[in-house]
Each structure stands twice: as C-alpha cells, then as structure tokens.
Amino acid sequence: MTDFTTATRLLTAEEEAPATKVRGYWQNVGYRLRYDYVTLAFAVVIVLIIAMAVFAPWIAPKDPYKTSMAFRLRPVGFRDFYLGTDELGRDILSRLIHGGRMSLLMGVVPVVFATLIGGFLGVLAGFIGGKLNMAIMRTMDVFYAFPSILLAVAISGAMGGGMANGMVALTLVFIPPLCRISETATTQVRGLDFVEAARASGGSTASIIATHILGNVLGPIFIYASGLVSVSILIASGLSFLGLGVEPPHPDWGLMLSTLRQSIYVNPIVCALPGVMIFVTSLAFNMVSDGLRQAMDVRL
C-alpha cells in the first residue's frame, strides 16, 4: 500500500514538473557566469569604461582640447587639474576620459569587421572545400607569415597613417586568424550526420549554412573574436603611439603616452597614466573573454 502511494505521488509530481530541471545550454552558461565573480567584476569594469567613453562630454570636468601656456606639465592634484596637465597645458583627466572614445573605437571596430569578413570567408572555405578552400586558406597563410604588429605597422605605415588607415590595417591583420578558426569549426561540423541529413532532405547550401552550420561555429568565432579585442586595443594604441593612428590634437591613450614620453624627467607619474588606461582596458577584455570561454566550454 505504501509502495503504491509513493508511486502515485511520484507520478503526479512528475506530471506537474520534472524532478530535476534540465537546463538548456544558454541557461548553463548563464548559471556558470553568475558564480564567476572575477569575470563579472571585469565585465563591470568594461561597462564602466564604455560608459565613460560614451558619456565623456558630460563626465569630463574640462575641455580636453583647451591648452594653457601658463599651466604646462603640472603634477597630479595641481589646483583643479586632478591628474595634472600635459605638455600643452591640457587637462589630463578630461583627455583620458575623452581618449577612451578613440581607443575603444580603434580597438573594437576592426575586430567586428574582421569577424564578419573572416568568419564569412572561413565558413565558405570550410563548407565548400576543394579549390576554393585552397585558394582562401593559402592566401591567409601568407598573412600568417607576419607577426601581427609588424603587419599592422607595414600596412598603415605604407598607407601613411591616420585613424581610418589604422583601422583598415587592423582589420586586415585580424581576418586571417578568424578565417582559420571558422574554417576549422566549419570543417568539423560539415562531416556530421545532421548536415548529411539536411542535404538528403533537399536543403540548399545557403539554408544548411544558415540553420545548421552557423549555430555551431558562431560560438568559437565569437570567443576568439572577444579575445582579439584585447590584442586589438594594444596594437591600436601602439599604432597611435608610433604616430600611425589617431592624429593630434585628438585625445587618444596611445598618442598621449607618446607625447608625454618626452616629459618623463619633468613629471613621471602623469606620463604613465594613459598606459594605465590601456592596460586596464586590455586586461578587462582578456579576463572577460577567458571567463566566457570557460562558461561556454569552447576549446580553441
């Protein structure tokens, strides 16, 4: 009798709701992220940096372009110049806040474009295979023969610097690795049974790519691209540092570092500040990308 009641109770309980909730993939990812406090903390840092860049005109205490011959190279905490002034007497704090705009733009935009172009080429090469694959991947191999900074410097150096040229150069630098990642992922998925099944039931190439391939390759591509943002910010600021990126008088962290470098004997601490911003931004993107990779369980 007791056995019977237990059985009924279990049965009804199961009809109402499953005893153990089966979580979907994204629920799992969200669950893992929620308890990953380090990643969450760095995600907050990224949000703050982006907010700072977006709302720069409202946050910055002073005009970042306003020069002042009387107050050049003042130390941290001089009057209301909380972080000092640069070699033209401009407020460092305001320039750091505004500088986030250029630096983030130059760091993020190339990765987005490279993801779209490289991802497209890689999926195409991986899915169609054959001669097209050969043609695309061997071309990419040539660009692999250049260390990324060298390639960026070569292209933007030859084109003559400037922010737009720098972004084109960075995009070209990041297309090959993204293409390779998406090609590898696509080739792996292409051989699986469900793709075969879709083809047998008459799916066109475009629809198979859209419904079956993309869902499986976007994860690795996204994770890899998120990791590249950190590299991109470092190289973009490096280009500006060399005078190949953002042009003066616009505020940019790399450019500020390069002009302030002349004054390290006068005002050492102020000179190091723009680099702190680059470092924190790059570190935050790296940590979040790492956390996402673990949460999404992607192996690259």
Binding site: V142, Y144, F146, I155, M159, R261
Partner: protein
Amino acid sequence: MWYYIARRIAYAIPIAIGVTVFCFALVFLAPGNPVQMLLPADASQEVVDLIMKTYGFDRPLPVQYWTWLMRAVVGDLGVSIQSNRPVIDEVLRALANTVFLSFGAVMLAFSIAFVLGTLAAYYRGSATDRGVTALSIVGVSIPNYWLGIVLVIIFAVELNWLPATGMGPGGSETFDLFNWSHFKHVILPIITLCMVPVGMITRTTRSAVSEVLGNEFVNTLRAKGLDELAVIRHALKNAMPQILAVMGLQFGYLMGGSILVETIFNWPGTGFLLNKAILTRDIPVLQGTILILALVFVVTNLIVDLFQTAVDPRIKRS
C-alpha cells in the same frame, strides 16, 4: 621522416613567394605616385614621366615584380632615400641587434615561465595555480611600450641605476656583452620584451605539463616509488616539444613585434629602423625591412616545426 621534412619545406616556398608579393605591393599602398618622394613638389609632368621610366614604373606590374624579385634574391633591395646606403646593409646591421634582444628576452622568459608553469601544473587548482594564471594574463595584457616607459621612469629617472636609451655609453653603435657599461643598456629592454612571452610560455607549460601529469604512466611511476622530483622530470620531458615550439614562435613574434620597445629604448634594431623609415617616408627601407623580418619569421616557423618533428616521435608516425 624525410618525406615530412621535404613536404614541410615545399609548403614554406609558396608562403615565401606570397610574402614577396605582399612586400612588393606595399609600395602601391602608399598614397600618390611611387616616385613622388624622389622629386621636388613642383616637378613638371615630363620630369615625372622620365623618372617613372628610368625606375621602370611604366612597365606592366608582373614585369616590375619580376625585376624587383630577381634583384631582391641577390640581395639588392634598393637604396635608402634618407641615407643613400644600400637597404640590405642597413637591415642586416639592425637585424643582428634585434636578434640579440629577442633571443635574450625569450631566454629570460623561458627560465621564468618554465618554473611558474610547472609549479602551476603540479599544484593545479591551488592558490599558486591561480596566482600564476593571473600573472600570465597580466603578461599578455600589459602594453609593453607602456611597461618600458614605467621601467625607465623607475630605474632611470627616479633611481638612476640604469640608462634610459641606447645600446652603449655615448651613443655607441657596437655592443659588448661582457662589458657592464654596455650590458646595463640591455637589461630594461629585455625585461620589457619578455612579458608577453612569459605569459604565453607559462600558459603552454601549465597546460602541457598538467596534461602529461594526468596520464596513467604517472601513476605507475608513483607506484614504483619514484620521488616527486623524478615524476616531474618525466612529465617535463614529455611536455618539452610543445613548450619549445611556443618558445620558437614567440622568438619570431618578438623579432617582428619589437618595434615599439626598440623605439622607446632607441635600440638600433629593425623596429627602430622601421619606425625611422615610416617617419621619413623612406619606402625602400620600409619594404626591405618588412620583407626580411617576414622571411625570418617564415624560416623560424619552419625550423620550429622541423625541430618538433625531430624530438617528438609521435609526429613522425601521423
């Protein structure tokens, strides 16, 4: 094995050719006319045409490429617009300095990363592991051009222990490794450059060693009563090919990527040369330097691959 080596070398040839095409094309990325830099701004059209003809810019592109390539093969990369010296001489002299710097940085990075990575793998999941992992992420996230400036501020400006720039006393152009007055110039650049390789090599060492430590033969070793140091020695031996491969790659990256650090320390290497060429729009030097650096990178990758095949019998079988 010989088949593998031959195939790997054959594979590098089209890449090297592609690299030369890219470097040749760099001239055409430059805005305006390729001979503009040689001429005064008010040169008449006839003069421009004449110069274009003497330099061969009026001929079809493939012909131009072929002529350029044939010259490059015998070491003629043109003449620097700034110094009027052959590009190849300038690049090779700078290359030696960069090789020295990169090699030193990779060696330093290896000695640090090897210990850290092994510790992290052995004490996996512990506080040591987390600390080492955090350190390796910091290493790859830090802008090395900024780190260079910070080190200069601390050790050259504030403490006055080490020189800020150059490669020897009084703007010396030669380097003597065993002379302290020379050697102290190399300390800061090498520390600055080694950060990224430390991060990368630590990461690889950690994952390679912990993978080996997860194998069953490790249990056997322990069951036979080997002490822990001997176990680690066995694990390292298995992980070594992977670690050395990353080391080789990092060396290649540093060769091409040291432009920022060399600029900060005024180290007369290829990066410094490249930066000077960009500032003065000296396209032949730009082209020649990039060509040589890319070829060095291709050869480094080739050597790393071949070396890995030589020491790791598992690759030969596949």
